[in-house]
């Protein structure tokens, strides 16, 4: 069997710089023969490569199931490219700014002949740093382009400040936990960022980094304090009768160190906290502390570390909201050496989002089949993409899968060996219900 030709789908909001990026890729000295299938209205000015106009002709298979909506024009064009003796090394498919990438991706799973000769490598979505937020607020297609992406390239970052860029990154991350996010100016993304993505490659699904499963920041504030013995954390009533907090050693009082530490601790905020009453001690370490803040006007907690040094305190809300401060035993103020305000979760009401699930132990294969079958049947149109690594009871090897809407593709992966068995799943979709999904997965736990 001949090698399948990789296909990269390039989507992007209007004005995001797709054409610039395409032109740059094509003129780069990469030694590859690339064919570009672009939408009718594109303006590619490269003549050494084959550029084919497509009409984005979508049709529904299986009596109109949205999950089987495919691009007939792509089937036809790719079918004609296969006839050539001189094959291309790679195909780039550019969609219009308003296109939903779903039908393009599904084409590679639904049509046998297309699948036989071509391999969907990945969906790359280009966004314009300055206008992305507004486009995401106003366009469902923009949201689905983010949801489908394996790589999100934020372009024109020189036109926005760091805070705006951070906010955008957080928003994109909350919508799509799986995608790699790159930042560029003038669409100058290196080719290796765009090509060889392996987004639908089950062998590479094993490379899913655990970090992509972690939740968004569940704390709004982080500050660095020098602790030498004890310190008092004094709070008044605020917007919430309880507040979670974590204390963690930190290597320096810098933003960089604080962000690093934040990455390290933020999974702790998803675990159940240990409830503390006023007067109790908050010590550094793995524990998530839940401070009780009811039935009084003022509350005092003690921060205490065995080793003197720099510590970072992360709190669910900002200290200002509780009129809080830090004091030494003498009653003198302790200065916060540096602080950072984290954007809380759900700053935007995006209906498109990602949900990551993790379950230790093994899963019952039959129960999983029944659950997934039912889930895809009822929620298939809302689930854009999913990926996972599963520990199926009685199987020596990991089971890896990926899916696009109702189309599903899975195979055994690496053996577990001595490693503890656990399953990880990511869903990206619209109006996903985390509790329902979590419950569904838990019900599949092997007994």
């Amino acid at each position: 069997m001949t090698q399948r030709v990789p296909v990269t789908v390039l989507t992007g909001f209007l004005g995001s710089g797709k054409t610039t990026l395409l032109n740059r890729i094509l003129t780069e000295n990469h030694g590859q023969r690339i064919a570009v299938i672009e939408n009718e209205f594109g303006e590619i000015g490269v003549d050494q490569e084959l550029v084919i106009n497509a009409d984005e002709e979508i049709f529904e298979m299986n009596n109109g199931c949205i999950c089987c909506t495919v691009r007939g024009d792509l089937i036809r064009i790719l079918g004609n490219l296969v006839k050539r003796r001189d094959k291309f090394d790679r195909i780039l498919v550019e969609t219009t700014g308003l296109a939903d990438p779903g039908p393009v991706a599904q084409t590679f799973f639904v049509d046998d002949e297309t699948r036989e000769s071509f391999d969907l490598d990945g969906v790359v979505t280009l966004v314009d740093a300055k206008h992305a937020e507004l486009q995401l607020d106003n366009s469902e297609e923009a949201a689905s382009q983010i949801a489908f992406a394996d790589v999100i390239i934020i372009n024109k970052i020189d036109l926005v400040d760091t805070d705006a860029l951070d906010a955008l990154k957080r928003r994109l991350r909350s919508m799509n936990l799986m995608a790699r996010i790159e930042q560029v100016e003038m669409a100058d993304a290196p080719m290796e960022q765009v090509l060889n993505v392996g987004g639908f490659d089950l062998d590479r699904a094993l490379e899913i980094k655990p970090s992509f499963l972690e939740p968004e920041y569940a704390f709004e504030w982080g500050g660095v304090l020098r602790l030498d013995g004890k310190a008092n954390f004094r709070l008044q009533n605020g917007p919430d009768p309880v507040m979670s907090a974590v204390l963690e050693p930190i290597r320096a009082a810098t933003t960089e160190a604080l962000m690093e530490t934040a990455e390290r601790v933020y999974t702790r905020f998803s675990a159940p906290g240990e409830v503390l009453q006023p007067g109790a001690t908050i010590s550094p370490g793995e524990t998530l502390w839940t401070l009780t803040l009811t039935d009084a006007d003022q509350y005092e907690y003690t921060l205490e570390a065995d080793q003197p040094g720099l510590y970072a305190l992360f709190t669910e809300h900002t200290p200002e909201e509780f009129n809080a401060g830090f004091y030494g035993d003498s009653g003198a103020d302790i200065d916060v050496a540096m602080e950072h305000f984290f954007n809380p979760e759900h700053t935007h009401d995006d209906t498109v989002g990602s949900i990551a699930l993790e379950l230790d132990g093994e899963i019952d294969g039959t129960a999983l089949n029944a659950w997934m079958g039912q889930l895809l049947q009822t929620r298939g149109p809302d689930i854009f993409r999913m990926k996972g690594i599963l520990a199926i009871a009685g199987e020596e090897r990991r089971f890896v899968f990926q899916g696009v809407h109702m189309l599903f593709d899975g195979q055994p992966g690496k053996a577990w060996g001595d490693q503890p068995r656990s399953s990880r799943l990511v869903f990206i979709g619209r109006n996903l219900n985390e509790t329902e999904l979590e419950q569904g997965l838990r019900n599949c736990r092997a007994r």
Binding site: D55, F59, M61, G72, R76, K83, R84, R85, D112
Partner: protein
């Protein structure tokens, strides 16, 4: 520039086989209306023609484009072929004089084309169909179909042109008066299409691995199949009573003998194989068909009740990419995806014995 074909010729008791290795996947094959010349379209942008009258004749190579020849059909004239290539040009290829460009398309590749001996040529250009006369002049543009045209077929007399696209077929009456086509609607993507010999039935192959048939007299339609694969080849038996299709692990046939819509499930007419049939082509004068398997196997299958078969290839390897009979049914042309082309010349009595029921 182009590899010199290596020519081989073999004479057996009841047939002669000529074969050539051309190092280019076969993208189309047909015999012209005179029955004198065959043409092979290649994925190297060349059309190769060969005379069927002279034994051991060599291929003439006609380069058209750097890319691939996408479509090939007998031209409207006695001699020659109509070709579409991925340089967007429509060509007429004369087996002795070579190619001539008839038109350059603006919207798409000319991957659907057909000609009728009444002197009309039709070629798709995206959602439009261009009609050209014998001299190559544009006589009409049939617009605007709901999507890119995926199949074209003239009826037997050349009075109607059927055009397949998303959600059905448009039926144009070519009487010189402009007007809207009759729309035959059925959801989904309709691809290849074919008329029954009497012009009563129109059948499309669909993306859904089924066939869809319209009875234009009774005003009914039905879905046939499904098959295992998408149907890539449709062919009517010599007497018009069977429609044969590729796409299964044996030759699928639907009976149209009583002028009614056939049952959805096909009759299985060939040998069952673990390899699917990628090509099937009915002999135009005898009740038999040639079937090309995706493993490169090639068989002659009788369409009688108790089918007799004969295998033509002893060591199959590469999928058969195209098959065509000469108009009188004594030559079978074809080739595979690796570029092995073949031309069988059969002894007609021997073929008739294979087709015969008793």
């Amino acid at each position: 520039m182009f590899l010199q074909p290596t020519t081989g010729s073999k004479a057996v008791s009841d047939h002669r086989l000529d074969s050539w290795i051309v190092n280019a996947p076969l993208t189309g094959v047909c015999v012209d209306r005179s029955g004198q010349f065959a043409a092979f379209a290649g994925g190297d942008g060349c059309v190769r023609t060969v005379s069927l009258l002279e034994p051991e004749s060599s291929l003439s190579v006609w380069p058209l484009t750097e890319g691939a020849v996408l479509a090939l059909a007998p031209d409207c004239q006695e001699r020659g072929f109509l070709c579409g290539a991925d340089d967007s040009a429509l060509y007429q290829v004369h087996p002795l004089d070579g190619p001539r460009e008839l038109a350059l398309l603006t919207r798409s590749w000319p991957d659907q084309l057909v000609a009728h001996p009444c002197g009309l040529r039709a070629v798709s250009d995206g959602p439009e169909v261009r009609l050209l006369d014998t001299k190559g002049r544009l006589v009409n543009v049939l617009a605007e179909h709901p999507s890119t045209v995926a199949g074209l077929a003239f009826d037997d007399r050349g009075r109607r042109l059927a055009v397949s696209h998303y959600n059905g077929v448009s039926l144009w009456t070519l009487d010189g008066r402009s007007g809207a086509p009759q729309r035959l609607c059925h959801r989904g993507s309709h691809l290849d299409l074919t008329w029954s010999r009497n012009g009563r039935f129109l059948v499309t192959a669909t993306q859904e691995k089924t066939l869809h048939v319209w009875d234009l007299v009774a005003g009914q339609d039905a879905t046939l199949g499904p098959c295992i694969n998408k149907v890539k080849a449709l062919s009517w038996s010599a007497d018009g009573s069977w429609l044969l299709a590729s796409g299964a692990d044996t030759v699928s046939g639907w009976s149209f003998s009583n002028d009614r819509l056939p049952a959805a499930a096909p009759h299985m007419l060939g040998r069952y194989s673990e390899h699917l049939i990628g090509n099937v082509c009915a002999n135009p004068s005898l009740a038999l068909a040639a079937a090309g398997y995706n493993d490169g196997g090639l068989e002659l299958v009788s369409l009688a009740v108790q089918p007799q078969r004969r295998s033509l290839v002893s060591a199959p390897s590469t999928p058969i990419a195209g098959l065509a009979w000469s108009p009188n049914g004594d030559h079978l042309l074809g080739g595979d995806k690796d570029g092995r082309l073949f031309a069988y010349r059969f002894d007609t009595d021997s073929l008739a014995r294979l087709a015969c029921t008793d």
